[in-house]
Every structure is written in C-alpha cells, then in structure tokens.
Symmetry: C2
Subunit: 499 residues, 2 copies
C-alpha cells in the first residue's frame, strides 16, 4: 500500500491506477503491425482483397468471447493480426465493390490525430481547432457549389444528411411542426426519382412523413429524373389535397451513377415553391473537376446539398457534409434545443463558434478535419486529378467491355459506375426466354462467390429494374491502373466461362 | 511518358499515379509526432489541458486556407503539431469538463486499426470481422442488462439511439406509421423527466412527434423522476385524448448524474402498455460494477436501452449502443428499406449477417470493435475497477467539498457528477437577495475563463433549475488521482478568491 493512501469504499485513491507505459507499448506494437500488414501493403496487388471465411468459422478464428479477466498483450496482438488478416482490404486496388475505396495517407494521418485527441465537436471551448477546420472546409465546399454564402454541418452519413434536408424543408414550410409535430399537419409529400438512394425512404419513415408519401418520379433510360414526370407527380399530390414540400434530386445515383437535370428541376421547384435538395453524396465530388462539374449544372440553385467526401474523395468513413444555402440561421433554429449545460450564453468568448446546436447529435466526431487535411495536402488540383483519372479509367473499362465477346455494357457510364453483364459461352446462343433469364441471373452471384473465395478482387452485383443481376464496377482510388481494368475483365472470364 | 501508355481524355492510365512511399512517410512522421506530443504526455499533469486562443487569433495560427496546389510535408507536419498544441487535451487527468475523458490505449490501438482498414459495417461480405465483433459485444452488453435475448445496433450517438427508441415504440404501437406517416395518426405523447437529456426534445422534433408532445415529469430533489407524477402525466394525456406510447427514463442524468427509479417506472409502463426506454447513455456503465449496478435496478424490464461506452468506459467517440429486448426482428422491420444493390438475398452466405438494414444509416463505422478490444484486454474486472475507482474519487471530492470553507455541495453525488458552488470570501457575509444572485452567477464563468486561459484544468458549469451557475465536475479516467481532486478545489480557490 502506498504512503498516505486515501481509501474510499476500499479503493485506494492515490496516484493513477493504470500502467501507461504498458498501454503505450501496446499502441506502438499494434501500430507497427498495421503499418507492416496493411498500410505498406495497401497497393500491393499480390495481396488478397479478402481472406474469405464462413461466419461460423471466422467466429472461432477470432475468439470473440470476452472474459472476466483481461487477456495478455501477446494474445491481443495475435488477435489484431487476425482482425487485419480476415478483414476486407477496402484500400486494395482491386476493391471495386462499394462507393468508397482506396487509402489516402493524409486523411489517415489526420484520423490518427483525431482518434488520439478524441474531441467532440460541439463547443469552441472543448474543440477549438476542429470547430474552425469544420467552418473552413464548409466554406470551401460552399464555394464549389457556387453559393455566395451558406451554412452546414458534418453528419454521420449521407442518409442522415438527407434526413436533415427533409427536416429543414418541412420546418421552412411550417416552423410549428417542430413543436406541434405532424399529427395536426396536412399530408406532406416529397418527391425523388425512382433511382434515388434508399435513404430517402428511410428518411420519410424515420421523420414521420411515411414512405407512401415519397412520390417516386420516373427516370429516362439513363436513370435521370424526367422533369415532366416530376411536374405530373406534383400535380397528382395537389389534386389529392396533399402538400408538396421537397424535391430531392440525385447527383450520382447508387447503381447507375446518373445525374438528374438539376437546372430543370430547380425551375419546377421555384415554380411550386418547393425546397430543392440535391443528394450529391456520391456525385458531389465531380464539382472538383473542371471537366465533370457540368454534371451538376444548376446545383447553385439548390436549397441544400448532401456531399460525402468519404466516397469519391477517399476521406475515410465517415465524412459527410450537409450544406444549406440559407444563411439566416435556419439550420440552428430547426434543430436547436438550447441545452443550458453546454451552450451557456455567458461564456467569455464569442458563442457563435459553439455550433453544436445545429446538429441532431450531441457528441459529434471531428469528421471535417481529415478532409481539410487532405485538401490542404493535395490542393484542389490534386483532388481534381484523381477525379479525372478515376473517370477516365471508367471510360476505358467501358470501351474494353464493348470490345470483348461475352460482355455487354448496360449503360454508357456517366460517372465512375460501370454496369455490365458477363455472358458465359454456354449462354451466348440460347434463346432469351424465362428459362434463360432465370439461369442467367445466377451468373453474377456465382462469379462473385468465386472471386470472394479466391480473394482476387471484389466487384458488386445486383438486379435493377428490368435487368437481372449485373456487375456494378466502381473506380475511385489513384492506386488503380489500366492494368487493373484489364484484370477485372480477364478474371471475370476466368471465373465464369464454365457456367 | 510510360511505355505502352493508354490515354483516355488526355489522362495516362498505366500504373498508379500516386507515390505511396511519400504518403507512408507522412503517416509515420505524423504518428511519431502524435505519440511524442500527445500519447506519451497524456497523463502528464505538467502539461496544459488547453492552450487557449481566441477564435480569430487561432484562425491565423492554423493557416486554414486551402489553395489550388498542395502544401509541402514540412508545412503539413508543423500544422499537425499546431493542431495538437491548440486542441484541448481531453485525455489530460485534469479534464473534468464533459461526460467523456481519458485515454484508453487498447481502444486507441483498435481505432488506429479501423481507420486504416476503413470498413463500413453493413454486410458480412465487406465487413466480416466487424459484423461479428459487433454481434459479440452487443450480446455481452445484453447479458449485463439482464436480458435473456435481444437485438441491437451501434449508432452515431446517444441522441440517435434515443431517436431509434422513439421510432421503435411508435412502430410497435402502429406499424402503419412507417408507410403512412403521422399526419393521419392521433397525437402521440411521450414521457420523460425534466432532467432528461436534451436529445429527447431533439428526437421529438426530428421524428415529427413535436416537442410539445414530450410531457416532462417532475423529479424529486435528487433529480429522479417521481413515479406518481409520471402516472399523473399519463392520465393528463389520456384525458386530452392523446395517445401515450413511450416513457424514457434516465439512468445518469447529464447535470446531476441521477438515476430514475426504473422498477417503479416499469410498473407504470406495464400497466399502461407503454414502451419503456432507458437512456443510460451516461449511467449504463454502472452495470459493470457489482457495487453500483443497483442504481439501474429494474433495467431488465426495459424495452430498449441507450448505452454509450464512449463516456464512462472511455471507448472513444463515437461508441453508442442501442439495445432492444425484442428478438423477433422488430429493429429491422422498423428501419429496413431492403436495397437490392446491397442486401441481395441470393448471396452465397447466410445473409442474416448482413445487419445494415437495421440501421437508419447506410455507411456505418465499426464503432463496436474498439469497445470489444478494450473489454477483451481489460476483462470485466478491469472495467469494474475503473468504475469503482471513478465513483470513489467522486465521493472523496464531495467529502472534501463539505469540509472546506467557501464550498457548497449542492447534491450528494450518486454517480460521477459532483455539483458545487465556490463562494468567494467577499460573498460569504452578503445578504442573499436578487443582487447577490446576480453577482454570484458570474463567479463560476469568471473562474472558468481564468482556468481556460491558464490551462490548468477544465471543469464545466451551468445554471440549473433554481440554482445559478455552479460547477459540475466529472471523474472518469483511471489516470485521475486523489491529488487531482485536491488540486481542483485548491485551484478554484486560487482563481476565485479575489472575486
């Protein structure tokens, strides 16, 4: 027992109780493992993308059980190695499966800093640096939208950003809803395309609007919202005596990567006085490119925009901005609860910097910082170069698909999504009846299973509208090269030609 | 130009375009800085808790502007040093300002791994390890609630967890609300205490319930919900022909750290068939302690529980579980949108492991993993020891406050919150009229300003109900010792005795 020990409830209160040096050593050891096993191998195409294990088998390999007593470092380090070994390498140049990929070292370094500092971004007092970097990056993003001014907040995902937009729109329509709720409100209707992200339905359900009150607007054969159909849906809602309040256009749809015609949609929103939201979670990053920003022509007319730098810009999950054109404090009025223990008005500094009450969260991560660090390190031109290259690679892949026997490009890519079928030789001369489509719909899942078990690459698939299962291939990372595009097609042929 | 270069749109597509070794070097350099400047100094009381700068001054020091061209490493490394220098050291043993603090090395190491792996936890296919560790930790947490079975999901914060509970409760009451929304629903009313977290109001606003439909139940002088008052409020709602649907009790209130009487509240919920939610975001960690888990007696009867291991258990922001007693798939039925591109049903593995559709998010961080790693490393007994010690230190602080002239303990602490006034000598013989309280309310803010500018410690303050500004002191970290408690009181006296 220590000298002069003070005991309360049998607990010695003198001095710290943990051995920091042991913990520090553990951090160093884990860091070395992850650098060697992961970061230095991130772009090595000789590594597997994944080391597939069935769930029940992986449970055993990981030793998931937690015990009353802690485990020794040696065992924990082995566990960390296994965690890395059996995780999907989303930074691998051949991970084409999702709308995120790759590894940006500047963002990663920034994330290590924020993890070690463990800030919560609600007040300037506890998070001075991260309040200011968030403000700076929001301002910069707003500049790229073409707005003169605006407001914004980083949220835990594009889905949540879309929810913010819905809530802002209805608050703008009727501020009383915040206090009174929807039970005495008329039936509110929102509009989005049938190609929108599924979070629009989740938003409608969660916010009490109801999924039936999302009116889905038809798209053209490229997956773009048809403005005349939007007008028709608005008329339909009005005829039903419902109240239209929001249109959500999509810039970069999830499956096709299509961009809605924002300018035409803005005209309709203006005419009907509807809130104009753009879900640019995926496609917003095209704004960084002089060549591709035309895909979002008209975005300067939006009332709000969701844009996720963790997707195309590789800022790391989660990094999602909700940007709002209003600069009168709408975001705060709509979401604030004015907690007196956190947002005291008698602080000794300018409490305008206490931005937390704009958020639906209380604790909030410093997600903006990593993107600020990346952009600072690479400059606008560095980010632009990445976008241009990813989209050039996509075009290369599409052109190769068109050249190859047994491949069918389903849509000319507009962004980084390439959607295509691989048709194994045995299918090529079959009659395209119901039996064909039933059998053919198994081709992509089977090839997917084989690539997962081999660990050679990951490409997603899905059925969509009238098309049975097809591959959706996404290019993001600057580590990806033309050789990887050729590999994808060769590998699909290798894995699927016997089907 | 490289050999056999393929050009598309003027972009060379061969080989990767970035120099990984330069990026890797940057990660190594930043890591070394943060270990030396932050992690190794985390528990050093000779360091400042914060290096205060006014916002305008800090903007200049940080060089926030982003340019067209990237900045050199040398400059970026200096910037990282400044970010660390001017950030609040939330791991400092004298950071008592929020409901989180300290540094757990196991969690930190785990966070470095997840940042480098950059997973998104929605499908087993892309996130096998993190799906399984989330499942394992949820199961373990459910065990500590005393439930035989249950379900759950990690969310981006206690506020969002509370929103989940509200949505589940109304879905249970009437599943049609998901499709139809609230406009044709009766007026739904939820109940919580006047000491609840402000997120309950945010939840009511965001979910379309309306803040007026949160009926606040009176608390006793310890800040605990009075069951008879809850019964009265429910009767009031029924008389108004509104529909009660949810009671949210609080285990560990934000300011006082009070625990509502769960068993009595459960009786009332049962009687009226109301969803019983417990916001144990702060206090849930007492469940780890044999000594203190009685504070949450009755929690096994809850329908849902919010519990944030990032608070008392130091898992790092964000780490927040929403636990649900229902095991019939309610969480998924309530929140799912069944995106066919993500949650394909024709996958080659058991798609029950694709848990993402339980969430309102799409991309979702692997927040559960760091907690799993910590718990694995420390064992239940290690976590219990921390809780017991933090609460023993709190009791020590309270007893010292009672002994000292000029300090007034406002409530006997029930958890880790100690609320007290410091009364400078010049106030001690003043008559306690309006003038006294007006002047006295400036004492805590002035001392706070002085401690921030000195950087010696951080303790929060707020007015609350009939009490003008008082300090709220929180103990969490095992790095904190009895000496730090003595320091807090000495330092407040030093900073405030001339007021």
């Amino acid at each position: 027992m220590k000298r002069n020990a003070v005991l309360v409830d049998g607990v010695v209160l003198n001095g710290p109780i943990i051995d920091s040096s042991s913990g520090e050593k553990f951090v160093e050891d884990v860091y070395r493992i992850l650098m060697n096993e992961l970061v230095y191998k991130a772009s090595d195409i000789n590594q597997k993308v994944c080391e597939w294990q069935e769930p029940e088998q992986l449970k055993k390999l990981l030793d998931l059980n937690i015990k009353d007593n802690g485990e020794p470092h040696e065992k924990l380090l082995q566990l960390c190695k296994n965690v890395i070994k059996y995780s999907v390498k989303t930074s691998h140049p051949r991970f084409f499966n999702q709308l995120y990929a790759g590894m940006d070292h500047y963002s990663l370094a920034a994330r290590f800093i924020t993890e070690a500092l463990n800030p919560s971004v609600y007040t300037y007092e506890v998070s001075p640096v991260f309040i200011l970097t968030e403000e700076a990056i929001l301002k910069k993003m707003i500049e790229f939208l073409g707005w003169k001014e605006g407001d914004g907040i980083f949220s835990p995902g594009g889905s949540v950003s879309n929810m913010y937009a819905v809530n802002l729109a209805r608050y703008k329509y009727c501020p009383d809803i915040k206090q009174k709720g929807l039970s005495s409100a008329p039936r509110l209707v929102m509009f989005t395309s049938e190609e929108c992200h599924y979070s629009m339905k989740k938003a409608a359900a969660f916010l009490g609007i109801g999924t039936e009150n999302v009116y889905f607007v038809k798209t053209d054969d490229r997956g773009k919202m048809i403005p005349e159909e939007l007008e028709n849906q608005i008329q339909r809602a009005k005829k039903e005596a419902a109240v239209p309040f929001l249109v959500s256009a999509t810039s970069g749809t999830t499956v096709l990567g299509a961009f809605d015609p924002l300018d035409d949609i803005a005209n309709i929103c203006e005419k009907h006085k509807l809130w104009f939201h753009v879900d640019a979670s995926w496609g917003g990053s095209a704004l960084m490119s002089q060549k591709y920003r035309k895909c979002l022509h008209g975005i300067h007319r939006a009332d709000s925009v969701a844009w996720n730098p963790h997707k195309m810009l590789m800022a790391g999950i989660q990094c999602c901005a909700l940007l709002v054109r209003d600069n009168s404090g709408l975001l705060k009025r709509c979401h604030s609860a004015e907690a007196t223990y956190l947002f005291q008005q008698d602080k000794f500094y300018d409490v305008q910097y206490d931005t937390g009450d704009k958020s639906i969260q209380c604790s909030r991560r410093a997600d903006a910082f990593k993107f600020w660090m990346m952009w600072k390190a690479l400059g606008t031109t560095g980010l632009e170069e990445r976008i241009n290259r990813a989209l050039a690679l996509t075009r290369y892949l599409a052109s190769e698909i068109k050249k190859r026997d047994g491949f069918e490009l389903l849509w000319e890519p507009e962004y980084a999504n390439t959607c295509f079928w691989y048709i194994p030789p045995s299918f090529r001369n079959m009659e395209k009846g119901p039996e064909y489509w039933r059998k053919f719909s198994n081709v992509a899942p089977t090839i997917k299973e084989r690539m997962m078990k081999k660990g050679s690459m990951m490409v997603g698939y899905q059925p969509h509208r009238d098309k049975v299962n097809f591959f959706r291939h996404i290019v993001i990372s600057p580590q990806v090269s033309r050789e990887d595009m050729d590999f994808v097609l060769d590998e699909i042929e290798r894995l699927g030609r016997d089907l």
